[in-house]
Symmetry: D3
Subunit: 303 residues, 6 copies
């Protein structure tokens, strides 16, 4: 591979019979790659940590059908690397939409909410969590696993869910709120620095229940909001995976909750489709098999 | 029950140990009701057939938690019944939207298709199947099981799917075609006269494969249409139930097919929600349990 | 049936074609029975409400293999009924263990907790929720659906889980806390007056998440409790159904959470076994089929 | 219904609030029918027992869509009933093939076995269990639930499995043995007198394991049989339901065991098809829905 | 590995960080093997294509428990290779039965069909598709994935299904037709040149629906065939996987369709058994685990 | 890796295109490791066999994320190795509890059985199978796969099940017997010498049915034992996996059988938890993913 700059997204020390070695995940805009350090493990291990930008030298190694790098030299980035071409933004996968543009869209959507209580609650969320909401990823992998991915996902669901609610004459305010709230627990479930990982709370509680608790606490600041409204919003968070098998402790019991669950499922799938088509460089009319979608995809063609 | 006018939607003669009896389904705009004839079976049986409008006298009987009628007198409607208040339209459940209005909307949607081949094919479908498409139900029960139900369902899916395709920058022409085509096989799967039932072909082949065959035949009239376009359209019909378990022999392999499957699933669910809320007259904030959706529903309330 | 005193556990007005009728659930210590009122519906309907004790006259009617009562006269209990033999306790199914005895056992268990933070939190729960904890049922039906049923269920799980934790050298404090907390959300999920029903919050949120929120709020009163301890307790509540299919949004990730889930599952099953054996009066070595356990049971015999 | 002679296949006393009543299953060649006794329960109950032929008077009653008889008079058959037309064989559903003819076919098949050990073992089974093997039913309901049903089922499977084994060049001796042995445990699982029921051993152990034990005991009489041969035969019994979900503790691991499982499954299904077509008297090209096969069936027609 | 001649069944160019490489599948009569080209990728890539016979030099490399070849030199076969020992038939896995012998058997079976319409239709299929039917494989992998495999599979199913139909007194003509027709769609689903792959139509439509369409078109040439006969044949194609989960859009609704599905399932399994036993060279009484059958197999032994 | 002493637990000869090679599993107290021999295969193969202790020289090789050894020299252990440090007990994973201590506990438990017949039967089992019961493993992998593992597992289940039976007032004698008997079939299902493998009987019949047969034979020595007692014991063996999907041909139909199944499931899970926590050396609060438990585990911490 020669050499390059990466974000070190994970770093684990393991011990085999031939001694200790490091297992790394290195990331740049084009995606993530596995890497291993076998030589000088103890010395090199002090030269960098997970979450830091690193300069790496090594050579590629085809391992189990996926490219893997055997690292020979690795150290954290130093100021002078800038002159050699290092730029943070080259190492961090990010949404293609500018964050400020997305943020404005979100504020406009929230301003369009008619119900005063709901609108105030949403505005308060932006105040409290704005810093993280602007940059957070939506997942560690699978879909929208990049800077701004959560915001991009929220906005798309909002757009879709509003269109659906309007089409069926349903309560638009509820679906706007649901779109913002449904994954709000991911702000606590995931750590992002900028490596992405699960927090202790994330593993033990999960973003669905964390989000429900965040809403419940927040709703206390709005005593004028009818109890049932707050319960409906919490219900939308809890039911947004659509079924128990998929991790929702309750099924959607309102038309708006059904719309939210459908919009979330569709957006997650379509983002995986887009990513898979972009990653695939094989010849022929179909992509390779997609592990999560469990199918091959037809590449866009003549029509 | 006193007496009333109905459409006799089903009529079966069964034989028990105490002799023959008739099992009927009677329908009016408010829905369907089970009925039985125990007396004068042979004589009464000649007085009417399934698919006819009937004048009925009998008395209600609570049977297995559902209301059931024991018929004492029944005969087909005669001209003089009009004077007594009989009107065909009171006996046939129908879409709330006027059929001409829906038809115009369909023609406009089709006119908006950019691809000349696809547009011609859709126009041809209206020519060939227009008479039935205007009035057909979408199912024997479960959802949209009424006059004009198929058309109403098609238009809703078209509206939703176009919005979704536009939102994701996908091929709008394909989803318009998919919306019209996806259930086209129901024109052969169901008989409607105006009682609704399954045809022999409907049972043995099913609307998914019937629809695919109808499209395949039709596509031959448009030799200029690229093969892959025709295959993509057929694929949308075949995959629109979303998974093998639900009866699709292939899974959606294009973004447009995924959108169509999501729109179909959502519209079917929301129509059931609307119907269930309309039918429910119990007190309290929740409906009774819905057998197909497998949940209770929150009644629309304060928000 | 002649006549008798009952608790009216449910009362619904429905309208059939032959007019309105009432659907009731009547309860006494021997269990629940369905009943219907067909005559004088409007007049009789004013004579009583759900949650009240009622004097009933009617006649039995075999309906769909289950006994059902057709009510002819019904009114709420009046003081003079006491002279005629009415006693509240005959109409309310209740735990066989005296409540005070159970409460003392609970207090002792809690006093045995070594960890000061956990013990204080559990004591606080008794203060806040003691009134309801003493009498609440554990379910609307299925298992422990009677006065004191929740407390009886908690104590049994506590006893089992402590034995298991000791046997495996695991953290006894955690399982005592888990046993008290795991169903705490049922205090809000169910209403009990003394008819048992689901609350709006119970349907929309469910006792698992309600319980997690109750704990989270309470834990704030104990700032010295380590964050991870509070998370482990919340995790035990959330994971106590053992799998997503059964409604837990996360699987048990600690040995103590696994023990709690196993104890809960076993106690629920064994209580159903005990109840089913007690209810069964058929001849032969096996009971009739149990709908939830999905099997017949061998009656205790010679061994 | 007027009156008639039946076999009383089941008799249970239940107690409702309006007093005790009897639940019966009455059988004649045309099938089984549910019946209830509400009047003179104590007196009538002494007049007959399950397993006896009875003379019944009563009237039909449509209950839950199935015909049910309310019995008014019932007593065991007495000698003089013969003069009034009673014949045992009219009350006992039985195979259409004469038992002696089936028995000869079985003996011939066994005589055709080449392997001396296997042949001796099969001959020994006929000696030991011949009396029951000639008349036993194959099930309490579902399929072949009639006199001689087990033998008919065994012979059909033998015929099919031999054809399949020959076609694939597999070991014909093994499949002949497997066909005789696979359901041999039903001789102990079911009681037949001539009412059909499950024995205590049948419920607790099940015919699959009972059959394996019967074989294991028997195999000891043939010490010259290679151990692996005995294990293969036992394996065929154990695996003949084809999968764990269907109750086989092991999956078929030999080609012959796969053939046996396929033959058993197909014969059970086709017997249900034949029975369902024979029972169905509805008009139209399709039968009513079959509960176990989970489908409607096309009636044989023009081809 | 030294060197050898193969059929290049697949050829994909992928790009890793260390540059482009080729992923190949090479085939000879003994089976298929994965191979990779890392050196001189661009130059070597012009020397051969998928579907061609190639001369290969390289060395074996154990990779992920399966043997894999790293190719050093590769080029398409040239005439002079014949002298060096190259023979096409050594590189193409093929049925052990001579194709002419199988073809005669097929013609005889078809000649035995009594129904004139069905017989004519089957004869017409041989005329139209004979060239491909003689040589086509039945799958890309799993079972009968070799030259003549489809024909071998069809004949075996025909033999079995006729035996079963005769045994049950069912319509022999229908199962002969079903056996020929059930996989007819594979002629379009797969490409074979002689590498085996899925066509675009194969992926998007699938062999079940392709086959149904082929039959429907063909049936138009036989206007005297009763509609229901054509529908029954189409139903047999559609239902031959036996259940929706396995990809059949309808379940078998006739005894003949059930027989066809059972025969297809059994033959596919037994061919996998035969292949697995032939491939296994481990010591001991059991084979290694079979991934699709999900079990180990007992090797034929002493009996 | 340098060199070391191991137990050779498995040895398979496979043939790749580059010639034959050996696949080994080597074991010492710290666990098992895969190994391969590529050089001098024929010569080295004569130097040792599976089930022998071996001296190995080779080098580690990271293969598919798991450490694997490429063996360069290997031979069976010779007496003089003792001087070089070889000790059998270092190569055989074993229970941490001394076997004599466990055996005494088992004898005491059995002595506590009140029912004379059951006690005698259990004592007889110790006489007959004591030698193997003392040392047998409980599985080839997954849980308790070490010397004395079966005994350790039996005792733990006995302890738990007695506590549960006492708590519910159930029959303690039955659960003691069930704990000893439930896995007794593993004495025949597994071979242990000291490599662990499945026997032919183990694969074809499985430990559940083997155990049932062993009991059935033994019970004949105790003619005074009531038939139903013997059946209940056999039922406990058969039902101890809790459901058909998990391999039990019958579900538990007594409270004691339910307790046994719950105790077995819990002990198997908790032993896996303990093992996984012991094996995990990663940093962070959670272990790596556990393949059978399908989750990550929280490491014991602060509480």
């Amino acid at each position: 591979m020669g050499s390059g700059y990466f974000l070190c997204a994970r770093k684990e020390r393991r011990t085999g019979r031939s001694g200790p070695f490091l297992v790394l995940v290195l990331q740049d805009v084009s995606g993530a790659i596995d890497a291993k350090v076998f030589n000088d493990v103890d010395a090199l291990s002090t030269e960098f940590d997970a979450g830091e930008f690193v300069a790496v030298q090594g050579k590629g190694n085809l391992f189990n059908s996926r490219l893997e790098v055997v690292v020979e030299r690795i150290r954290r980035v130093i100021p002078s690397d800038a002159a050699a071409g290092f730029r943070e933004e080259d190492c961090i996968p990010a949404s293609k939409r500018p964050i400020d543009e997305m943020w404005s869209e979100l504020e406009e959507r929230i301003a369009s909410v008619q119900d005063r209580n709901i609108r105030s609650l949403l505005v308060r969320i932006l105040e409290l969590h704005g810093r993280r909401l602007r940059i957070w990823p939506a997942a560690r992998q699978v879909h929208h696993a990049f800077r701004g991915g959560l915001l991009e996902h929220i906005l798309k669901i909002m757009e879709i869910a509003v269109a659906l609610a309007d089409s069926y004459g349903l309560r638009r305010d509820l679906v706007i709120a649901g779109a913002l709230l449904h994954d709000i627990g991911k702000l606590e479930e995931l750590t992002y620095d900028p490596a992405i990982d699960y927090s202790v709370e994330g593993n033990l509680i999960g973003h669905i229940v964390i989000g429900a608790s965040m809403l419940r606490d927040l709703a206390r600041e709005f005593p004028e909001m009818p109890t049932e409204t707050a319960l409906e919003l919490e219900h939308m968070i809890l039911s947004h995976h659509g079924s128990k098998e998929l991790g929702s402790p309750v099924k959607p019991m309102t038309a708006e909750a059904m719309i939210l669950a459908a919009a979330d499922d569709l957006d997650a799938k379509l983002q995986q489709v887009r990513q898979h088509l972009a990653d695939d460089s094989t010849p022929g009319r179909f992509t390779v098999y997609h592990r999560y979608l469990e199918r091959v995809l037809l590449k866009p063609g003549a029509v």
